[in-house]
């Protein structure tokens, strides 16, 4: 059992605040992804959980024990580093065995565990090599095997796939998901790649500027962004936004059409819709097509609505040319609204 509790964790480097009072609970055996743009504090939060950095404020609990004053080795964690940190002076075998030897496990046990995890990561034929004789992908596998061999309560990973080429990344991603699901560990995984986050996570914590903006399941984060940032960060292409103002009969005026808005909304709101939730029909938003990008099954149409950039993912049967006038109707149940002041979602 290793539930992770993060209570009011803040971190400052001198006058710069990297994390503002983070609260987060990660359930036992959950796969939590920390997702956010570069510099938003993902690594800092992960390192605080690992004990490689101490929080300026707040508490970290792992498996019911407060750990923020403990050194990393007493926290029951294992970590996969971004640059792998596979020891160059040790063979693959000794790298995987490193933590086990520190725990003073008997040699037979070390041997079983090294062989088992090496097999799991498909590196059993590399055990005698040094890391200088491995490819990036193989080194990555060693780093994961070293963490798994510890049979830790918690595995922390900082962008473990970011140094691999696209194809290898895809392969490792699927493999990691399978291996970690079977290992019954709680996983915290840092990435700035939203596709990776979506495909791996039980829950995603979207971070921005040292805050956690939303922590929810991948579909929830995608469908119901809690804040404008989430909608604009997640999804490729991201959400479309247009200003909206309440008119006399309580509906919202969006670029020339009136839509039913949230009952609790103020006089001004921001209308949001995902590009794939638009259809061509009469009475929609008037758009002027600018760029047409056929993507096979769909065509991405970048247009202008009311002078603002607006994207639609449409069926590729549709014939459009730059300069065409389109009428784009948003699917009513997919329309989202944000408060322009707080940028939070309004329901």
């Amino acid at each position: 059992m290793a539930e992770i509790l993060i209570k009011g964790v803040a971190k400052s480097f001198g006058s710069f605040t990297a994390l503002h009072s983070i609260d987060l609970t990660i359930a036992d055996q959950e796969f939590m992804v920390l997702l956010g743009a570069s510099g938003c504090g993902k690594t800092t939060l992960l390192r605080i959980i690992a004990g490689l950095e101490s929080p300026t404020q707040g508490e970290v609990w792992i498996g019911g024990k407060r750990v923020d004053q403990l050194p990393p080795r007493e926290r029951g964690i294992a970590m996969v580093f971004q640059n792998y940190a596979v020891f160059p002076h040790l063979t693959v075998y000794e790298n995987i065995a490193f933590g086990l030897r520190m725990k003073k496990l008997p040699q037979a046990e070390v041997d079983t565990r090294v062989k088992r995890t090496a097999e799991l990561m498909h590196i059993e034929q590399l055990l005698k090599r040094y890391s200088g004789q491995l490819s990036g992908g193989q080194r990555q596998r060693v780093a994961v095997a070293r963490a798994l061999a510890m049979e830790p309560d918690v595995i922390l990973m900082d962008e473990p796939l970011s140094n691999l080429d696209a194809l290898l990344r895809l392969e490792m991603r699927a493999e990691l998901k399978g291996v970690l699901a079977n290992s019954k560990t709680t996983t915290i995984y840092v990435t700035h790649d939203q596709v990776e986050a979506m495909s791996l996570a039980d829950r995603i914590s979207v971070m921005n500027g040292g805050h956690i903006v939303q922590a929810a399941s991948p579909v929830e984060v995608y469908r119901n962004p809690a804040a404008r940032f989430v909608g604009s960060f997640i999804g490729n292409p991201p959400m479309n936004f247009l200003p909206a103002a309440r008119n006399g009969d309580g509906r919202y005026q969006v670029a020339g059409i009136a839509l039913d808005g949230p009952s609790s909304g103020g006089a001004k709101l921001e209308f949001a819709i995902r590009p794939e939730d638009l259809t061509i029909a009469a009475g929609g938003l008037k758009a002027t097509a600018r760029v047409i990008e056929p993507l096979g099954a769909h065509t991405l149409v970048t247009s202008e609505v009311d002078g603002k950039l607006f994207r639609a993912v449409l069926d590729s049967d549709l014939k459009v040319a730059p300069g065409d006038e389109l009428s784009l109707v948003p699917k009513p149940d997919r329309v989202r609204w944000f408060d322009p002041e707080t940028t939070r979602a309004v329901n």
């Binding site: 690992a50 004990g51 490689l52 050194p71 990393p72 080795r73 964690i77 294992a78 970590m79 580093f81 640059n83 940190a85 020891f87 160059p88 002076h89 040790l90 490193f98 933590g99 520190m102 725990k103 090599r129 040094y130 890391s131 200088g132 004789q133 070293r146 510890m150």
Partner: protein, 281 residues
């Protein structure tokens, strides 16, 4: 210019320098040591080895090196660890540690003589504190081991910093991530030192050990300052045969012995502290 010849051209000045100032004198020395009136002979080596002072001289030199160099390694590792951990005062401390490097070995010997001689600091202090009634003759021929210790102290004081400087720069090259990985995987400070610092510092340790051991075999001025001829060492004897006994051939034989043990030590360090293929950063 052809890119194949360029490297050779760039190496040429250094090569010429080495040939003129090292290889040529070496050949001359070898010639002196192995010939008599134009013919090959082992006679000079026999003279050298037959002299009653040869083996004590040889062992004095080797034992001095065998004590000084490992001590210097241990001390330099400790000092480098301290310096590498410092953030703000790092450079100041580094400069202070390296001050003795700026002194010639003779000056260093004289400084330690000023401490140990009969009217030196140590005696003044002992008398002043009432530990002894009258100054003690520390560096007399009856107390060979005191001279030995004095030489060791002087050498430690004088030349440990160079080892430290090499180690500090080597430590700076070890990526922080390896320490963090070791820490996460259960290594405390001592284990991190043994399992990460030491193995990853091996190339620097190798360099430092080779440099220091060769220098230790050439110890001379410090010994002369502290012990005169009471504690004979190889370079001292070389000097003696060349200038006091006017036998350049035997002096050359001594020089070759120093060269031989230096090469032997270098080979040992290259072998023992080698890095396996693929095990580099």
């Amino acid at each position: 210019m052809n890119s194949k010849t360029l490297p050779y051209l760039l190496l040429a000045p250094a090569t010429i320098f080495l040939v003129v100032f090292f290889l040529w004198p070496f050949l001359q020395i070898a010639w002196l040591a192995f010939t008599t009136e134009g013919g090959f002979t082992m006679q000079h080596f026999q003279t050298m080895a037959g002299n009653w002072k040869f083996w004590p001289t040889f062992w004095n030199t080797v034992i001095l090196a065998a004590i000084v160099v490992p001590l210097q390694l241990v001390m330099a590792l400790a000092m480098a660890q301290v310096v590498a951990k410092l953030k703000t005062t790092r450079n100041t401390i580094l400069y202070i540690f390296t001050i003795p490097l700026g002194l010639s070995d003779l000056a260093a010997g004289i400084i330690w003589l000023a401490i140990f001689e009969q009217s030196g600091f140590l005696n003044s202090m002992l008398v002043g504190l009432g530990v002894v009634d009258k100054p003690i003759l520390f560096l007399g021929y009856q107390n060979l081991w005191v001279i030995f210790i004095a030489v060791i102290l002087a050498e430690l004081w004088r030349a440990t910093a160079i080892v430290m400087v090499i180690l500090v720069s080597g430590m700076g090259l070890i990526p922080k991530e390896y320490y963090e990985a070791a820490e996460v995987f259960g290594a405390g400070p001592w284990k991190r030192f043994v399992k990460v610092t030491l193995p990853m510092l091996k190339p620097s340790i190798q360099t430092a050990m080779i440099l220091r051991t060769i220098a230790a075999f050439e110890v001379f001025a410090v010994v002369v300052a502290l012990g005169g001829t009471t504690l004979p060492v190889l370079v001292g004897e070389t000097f003696n045969w060349q200038f006091a006994l006017n036998d350049r051939n035997v002096a050359a034989a001594f020089a070759l012995v120093i060269l031989a043990i230096s090469i032997a030590a270098t080979l040992v360090f290259l072998r023992v502290l080698r890095t396996p293929k693929g095990a580099t950063l």
